[in-house]
Symmetry: C2
Subunit: 288 residues, 2 copies
Amino acid sequence: MQVGSMQVGAMKVGIVGLGLIGGSLAIDLRPLGHTILGVSRNPKTCQAAIDRGIVDDASSDLKLMSAADVVFLCVPLSAIAATTEQLIPHLLPTTVLTDVGSVKTTVVETIAPLWPNFIGGHPMAGTADSGLDAAFSGLFTDKAYVLTPIETTPPIALETVTSLVRSLQCRVYQCHPAEHDRAVAWISHLPVMVSASLIAACLTETDPTVLDLAQKFASSGFRDTSRVGGGNPELGLMMATYNREALLRSLQAYQQQLGQVIQQIEQKDWATLESELTQTQQIRPQFL
Amino acid sequence: MQVGSMQVGAMKVGIVGLGLIGGSLAIDLRPLGHTILGVSRNPKTCQAAIDRGIVDDASSDLKLMSAADVVFLCVPLSAIAATTEQLIPHLLPTTVLTDVGSVKTTVVETIAPLWPNFIGGHPMAGTADSGLDAAFSGLFTDKAYVLTPIETTPPIALETVTSLVRSLQCRVYQCHPAEHDRAVAWISHLPVMVSASLIAACLTETDPTVLDLAQKFASSGFRDTSRVGGGNPELGLMMATYNREALLRSLQAYQQQLGQVIQQIEQKDWATLESELTQTQQIRPQFL
């Protein structure tokens, strides 16, 4: 469900990881009156964040988070578990912890037992770039921001993070971590594997003349369909690793669907193929 | 191979089919000094083309083509055979005939025996819109325009059409019809089936909550990967019908590639998956 607008008082907001997401959160939250405390492993990033006025204070030491009312964990999925263990000795018992990982079941299962005052989050925004230099104001505007409370999530954690991210002009949604992961498997993780396989398949062409022509003729259709498959391999690997079960289920359904298309073309069953393509044309706008 | 620039004298250019492609050809060729003669089945389209100054003359009668030095056949693939048969009784023996169909083997095999002074062509340009109202100046600029001569193609046919389309600021390529069809199977026709199957696969989700979330969460990654699969079903059907053999070969290679990705994820063979995704990231720019 989408969550309505709320008022939010000035808070001390900790941000661990000053990259694209953490930096952009800081850039948009600080002008709203919050005090922004940033942590980065890299002292140069800390200094850059202070110099550019993105944060009120920054440090490579997680101790800085002891003053925070709420902490956004903005590190890669692979670093979330270790960072959480290092972070929690420094937190006040009342501090609300949230993360921005793009997969939720494993993250929530990892953090919630360590820090019950936690709520999983996933801002569905990003660019091809990364790092503090890529951060900008408005990254989250009109984007979906998914919060994934579970039975044991304290209402105050949900309310605090909802009010903060709502103030970024996001569309805020709530669902169970497993529902989130199955949904993003369809619309984010499956497209990466489908798209990467397209590029890889073209390379199986054994006639160098045809491959050369294919490269010369490729235009907007190939560019768009191959875009996410030609992205950062670490992201694709992360999706497969952390959302393996849901992704496999989507991949198997996709493979079956593709097999039907192949069969229709083999059997010259043009009526069924046309009906399928008509359906996909009609259905696609519901996803956009 | 890409063909170099040539000078071209003023000609009488016939265009049969005043849609997006035919109309845009007329719009850009007439200002270069050529006399443009247009044919459309629809008298209103003929009148509109005259009123807008797109053509010098237009008619629903193919007799108008008896004055043409060169005729561009700009009708849908499914209408090419019948239109050619109706057209050739009206042509001068010296008239060069070319077409703009997106598949070449079947077209060349159909037309060349009927009218030897023919060369197949495929301007790789288009928009989501169709019809004369969608035609515009510059549609072909910087786009690939493929010409597909065969052993029996008269040099004059190749030279005439090359010089005309070169004057549209196209990148002009030459290859055998079969090479063209295999190349476009990879970068144009396979992406449509891959993309349509993505949309269709999402609809197999049986949990309405998850499907609803997927529709709400879908953003640029899904939008781009699903774009060509959500396009005009007639175009997809045409690709499958007229380029069936090459498309099937590409689909089977794709299916095998996808099976490998699934196996890597099932077996948690992250090293191989990462190496594949790294390769697709590195290779994609060669297609753009």
